[in-house]
């Protein structure tokens, strides 16, 4: 072939180049800034499954439901140690078994219906009846018996547990116990038993008395809120809120470019050097607690992890400071399983200290003979942005320096949870997020209790821990704190769980304020201004 096609070749090449340049150029002109000052954009990494409070029990779900629904009681700002009235005021009975709720002024649903005692009773019974994720909130955690919920007058109702339960007022602020508009929901398939079919409706239209209404909802990309005109509280500063599903790295650039005014999921690496001008970084310690478990079941433990001295060796071998370095400044090592913010938390414990000499001697006396232990961890979950893989590798390296052979076993959290819940994993890393800010949420980390059993820690083991646990549950009033401390000390001395880390969390804002970190619902969108 000669000249002729060559010319055409040159021509087509030019055309291709032009096409590329055109597409390249148009790429630049995309993002424009919103002119509306009324819209608040919040970046969050979604774990959203539903916005139906009786079914939601994820972090994003709590943010959403907090904005849409009011609860009987609530917490003020970050302070989760003192329940305060919202829809109702409360009194506890002397035996701590019954809480009496009394309507607190006038609240109105977005439909215009007033909030009545019947709505609260119905909403609570619905949580119990449809047996969704949060239904345990209204159940006795030891016996599995649902609380008795009764309307006692047009303005009062009672919730009664079978045993003394001082945590009752701490449970009720949970956004999963948001109060729904019974009359509206009953028209859309809402019931208080398993036949309930209102979830679809709630994922399109909210039915609450909270500051916002649902404007649009997509569980994988974004949730948009608009003002609830019937809300009786202080009108929020922003008329429209967009909660956007964005990964960490993009959250950073979003805030920098003021594409988002609030970012909730940046980790320490990402926030370093970010603070400047209108960009503010609020740092606080997460109440999610990362822990290590060692299975006590003889047949799962490989004869290693159930040796008390081996457990001790592990506790001393771990370099807790390294973990904190990985997690970034602001992270802490909790003394026990109760997070540092809550009543009864331990500042530190002599059993959980880095001491390589002690680790070596404990290992020697445990009879460890070089067996490899398998350390499982979730690959697709983080402890507030800290990768479990990093933590696991750090722990592995610590243990290997102490002379323990460790094989890592990263699993998708679904697979991990399944085996963990069946008590089949020898050792591993997991975390616990608070269901309600009371130490009684944590007694599950005891022999024979739910979490204890996952680590093969059965009722007949560690009687000292069981005794301390029972004392803690039974304790009333001011005695509770020290009773829970004692329980954790016992568990640290002879237990299957090693509390490792509470990571630092960051809320990064650009030009807004009023975002108050909260351990239960992360942030109340209505207070941002």
């Amino acid at each position: 072939m000669n000249h002729l096609p060559a010319r055409l070749a040159a021509l087509t090449a030019t055309a291709a180049a032009v096409a590329l340049i055109v597409s390249g150029c148009s790429a630049g002109g995309g993002s424009t800034q919103s002119s509306s000052s009324k819209t608040l954009v919040v970046d969050n990494t979604f774990d959203l499954k539903t916005s139906d409070p009786a079914r939601a029990f994820e972090l994003t779900g709590s943010i959403v439901d907090k904005a849409l629904y009011e609860t009987a009681l609530t917490f003020e700002g970050s302070d989760v140690t003192k329940p305060v009235p919202q829809l109702t005021t409360y009194t506890m009975s002397d035996d701590n078994k019954t809480i009496t709720l009394t309507l607190n002024g006038k609240h109105v649903f977005s439909s215009g219906n007033p909030v009545t005692i019947d709505d609260i009773v119905w909403s609570y019974k619905r949580v119990q009846g449809i047996a969704g994720n949060p239904s345990f909130l209204l159940t006795n955690l030891s016996t599995g018996k649902p609380f008795a919920i009764e309307k006692t007058s047009d303005t009062t109702m009672t919730i009664t547990d079978t045993a003394a339960n001082p945590a009752l007022p701490f449970i009720l602020p949970n956004p999963s116990l948001g109060v729904l508009d019974e009359k509206t929901l009953e028209q859309h398939g809402g019931t208080t038993d398993k036949t309930d079919s209102a979830e679809q409706y709630l994922n399109g239209t909210s039915a609450g008395s909270g500051p916002y209404e649902l404007s649009s909802y997509n569980a994988t990309s974004k949730v948009v809120f608009k003002l609830n005109p019937k809300y009786v509280g202080t009108k929020p500063a922003f008329g429209r809120v967009v909660l956007n599903n964005v990964t960490g790295p993009s959250q950073k650039t979003d805030v920098q470019g003021n594409q988002a005014q609030l970012a909730l999921n940046l980790n320490s690496q990402q926030v370093s050097g970010l603070e400047s001008g209108s960009i503010k970084v609020a740092k606080f310690t997460s109440s999610n607690l990362g822990y290590l478990w060692l299975n006590q079941n003889a047949s799962v433990s490989g004869g290693v992890t159930n040796q008390p001295d081996f457990v001790k060796a592990v506790r001393h071998a771990i370099d807790y400071k390294s973990l904190q370095t990985i997690a970034g400044t602001g992270s802490t090592q909790p003394g026990g399983m109760v997070p540092s913010q809550f009543l009864g938390s331990l500042a530190s414990d002599e059993n959980n200290t880095t001491d390589s000499a002690a680790a070596k001697s404990d290992l020697q006396s445990s009879g460890y003979k070089g067996q490899t232990i398998t350390l499982s961890y979730p690959t697709d979950a983080t402890l507030d942005g800290v990768s479990f893989a990093d933590m696991a590798q750090s722990v592995q390296s610590n243990l290997e320096s102490a002379g323990v052979k460790v094989k890592l076993n990263g699993l998708p959290i679904a697979t991990l949870l399944d085996s963990f819940r069946a008590g089949k994993l020898q050792a591993g890393l997991m975390y616990w997020g608070p269901d309600f800010p009371d130490p009684s949420d944590y007694v599950t980390f005891s022999p024979g209790e739910g979490l204890g059993l996952r680590a093969g820690w059965t009722k007949d083991m560690s009687p000292s821990v069981t005794k301390a646990k029972e004392a803690a549950i039974a304790a009333q009033g001011d005695a509770r704190a020290s009773a829970y401390e004692a329980w954790q000390k016992a568990a640290n001395a002879d237990g299957a769980f090693v509390p490792l880390l509470q990571a630092a969390r960051y809320q990064v804002t650009n030009g807004v304020s009023g975002n108050v970190p909260n351990a239960i619902w992360t942030v109340d969108l209505a207070t941002v201004e």
């Binding site: 690496q269 370095t325 590798q393």
Partner: protein
Amino acid sequence: MTAVQLPRRRALRVPVAWRRPAAIAGSVVLLAWVLVALLDPLLGLQDPLQQSVGDAFRAPSAAHPFGTDALGRDVLSRTLWGVRSSLPLAVALVAGSLVVGSVLGAVAGYLGGAVDEVIMRIADLVFAFPTIILAMVVAAALGPSLLNAVVALLVVSWPNYARVMRSLVLGARGQEYVVAGRLLGAGPFTSLRRDVLPNVSAPMLVLAMLDFGNQILLLAGLSFLGLGAVPPTPEWGSMVADGVTQFSSWWLATFPGLAIFSVVVAFNLIGDSLRDALDPRTAGAVQGSSI
């Protein structure tokens, strides 16, 4: 339709292929990686597993030419050790799919009939899935580990070999010498082994060579998704994944990514040259591979 003319016992024209600059470049890169894999312990690198959390996320410097990762490990040494995960497993994977696919394809092509139908319909079924989605389900079912990722990819990669093998066998089956062999009393498998396989081995080898790059990419892709390599093993795909969440530390993803790229390019250059050296008509059959 005329059958593809296959000269009897045609050897792969390897010397011809090796004279091409592309093949030389590819071989040099590949050889360098093989040497690195063999000599890793002697290169005076830092321990790829040695953590130093205080030195996390250090940018490239004289001490750490490729920087350090989240646990303060040396990215250079992890990248160079990473070849030990990728190369041997890719070889195992390609060899595995070559053997499984060839056997099934040969059986299907040679026996025909119901056996052919069943094997090829299963191949169709596997083809109907994008490789990585099926591999993802298999890997998730088996649990993450590099070996399971290899198994998962084996499940999805044999049909390509089976198809090509089947068409080559079909082409060769009609050749006079094969027919003559059958007439002289050679059983189906004897004839397959003696008369057919030697003639299809060259294109199959080229196919395997061209497939190497793909398989390395897929293997790394599964690791990237967290369904392959298990930490702390240095592996390129998972190293890139580490870099995804840490954009300010660009070196985390860049260097292992370049490593994958260099190996895949090397294999593709060699594979291309081999294919070009092969009879262009049979080479056509060899082209149909997909990620």
